[in-house]
Symmetry: C2
């Protein structure tokens, strides 16, 4: 059974890409076969895993030109981690998909070709609830919501879960909330504690126990094109993503 997780939050800058890349790498280290899908025209995940400039064909060609996964997926420096890269052309898909038949199901149809090739697929979504994100939610078995411990981030959570309910109702009844991940947590900052309390009080066990601290090494690693466990394996950022990977596997296997 392949677990396909959409890493999603329309609020910008909350740690979607940082989570996709580093959780992907940590899961591969635990022996999982992982595919990282970059579904953001910014192509940040593609650059952060070492592909600069972004290669083609990529996910745009898979969605819009019937290119097969085999022709677009690439290996990375991390054993067990492959990537389906993005390119800025992907921005065109948001508009080009509008009139297309079954426009929300393109990504799901692409994965259907290779149903058992990976154990876990992580889809890094753009900061919007447009057709690219809806494609991810339609293809996914679960969603992981990175949530920065800031006021604005809390505001948008309701609307995100509304969109998830809409997709569950019409396009993907099996979609479930895998978990909410608190990111950039700074223990010295009151707001972080307030937001964490409010979210845990409201969502209980849906919130991962693992919390990602604010850690400057995490923002340095992308400029070297390496995930944190290759860039600085001993830092708190790497440790927290390793913890998250273990906790996620427990959740997925029902342990």
């Amino acid at each position: 059974m392949t677990h396909i997780l959409a890493i999603v939050n329309q609020k910008g800058g909350v740690g979607k890409t940082t989570t996709s890349v580093n959780l992907g790498s940590a899961l591969a280290r635990l022996g999982q076969r992982v595919l990282l899908v970059d579904l953001d025209p910014q192509a940040n995940a593609t650059g952060a895993i070492g592909f600069q400039p972004p290669p083609q064909p990529g996910v745009y060609e898979v969605l819009m030109q019937d290119v097969g996964l085999d022709d677009a997926v690439m290996p990375t420096e991390v054993a067990g981690l492959e990537v389906l890269p993005a390119h800025p052309d992907l921005a065109g898909a948001e508009v080009e998909l509008v009139p297309a038949i079954a426009r929300e199901q393109r990504l799901r149809q692409a994965f259907a070709e290779q149903p058992e090739r990976w154990d876990v697929v992580l889809i890094d979504c753009p900061p919007s609830l447009g057709l690219l994100t809806v494609n991810a939610l339609t293809a996914a078995t679960g969603i992981l919501v990175p949530l920065q411990c800031e006021y604005f981030a809390l505001e948008g959570l309701g609307r995100l879960l509304e969109t998830v309910r809409l997709v569950q109702g019409s396009l993907n009844p099996a979609l479930s909330l895998t978990g909410i991940l608190l990111t950039m947590f700074d223990a010295r900052n009151n707001i972080c504690h307030q937001v964490a309390e409010e979210v845990t009080g409201h969502f209980h066990w849906d919130v991962f126990e693992s919390v990602i601290p604010r850690n400057v090494r995490l923002s340095e690693a992308p400029s070297f094109g390496r995930p944190i466990d290759l860039y600085d394996p001993e830092c708190r950022g790497a440790q927290s993503y390793a913890d998250l990977a273990r906790e996620l596997l427990n959740r997925l296997t029902g342990a």
Copy 2:
């Protein structure tokens, strides 16, 4: 002459909303008649200036249903600062505008009704380069680019300026780069200094001298629905936006 500035960067979480709200308030304190336009379906600027939940009609009705500015613009707690609020329904405009005639010019046409009502209009854009942002670039006389001093933020700058050139070429030849604003600057963080040096080396006088420091009070203020100069006028965040307001007025008046 009304200066219409698009506060734009497709990278998420770089300080677009924080800049729109706090620069708007600081300009009003200097005696300018200011309109803050929230063009993001997240409606963060609307909430940050005190309108929670978001009122209707708002900018969606102005763009899509020919509601006049008079019927949507509202006064705020800050004398001289008015707001054209957003509501989550605005997310629909991104798709509904696709087949519309002169779809990029809706916002410009709305401002044409009241050409001299304000001295400065600030448009808070969503984290994408879709039709809402293109409407802002088509209506604007200048653009202000908040740039977080992080690796990913630098990556996207090229693509943003490419989109600006496209809009200049076909929709708005008078559009110019008013300035690049360094945000969330943390002097203890090497990356911040590196990004600042690289951007200043490349863009020279296009980079504002005023730099916005990372300051937790800026992230607290929105939860009270007040701009920083009402929430904590003595903090570094309020001072830095007051400096920026003065520097911007000098740039706009050619001083």
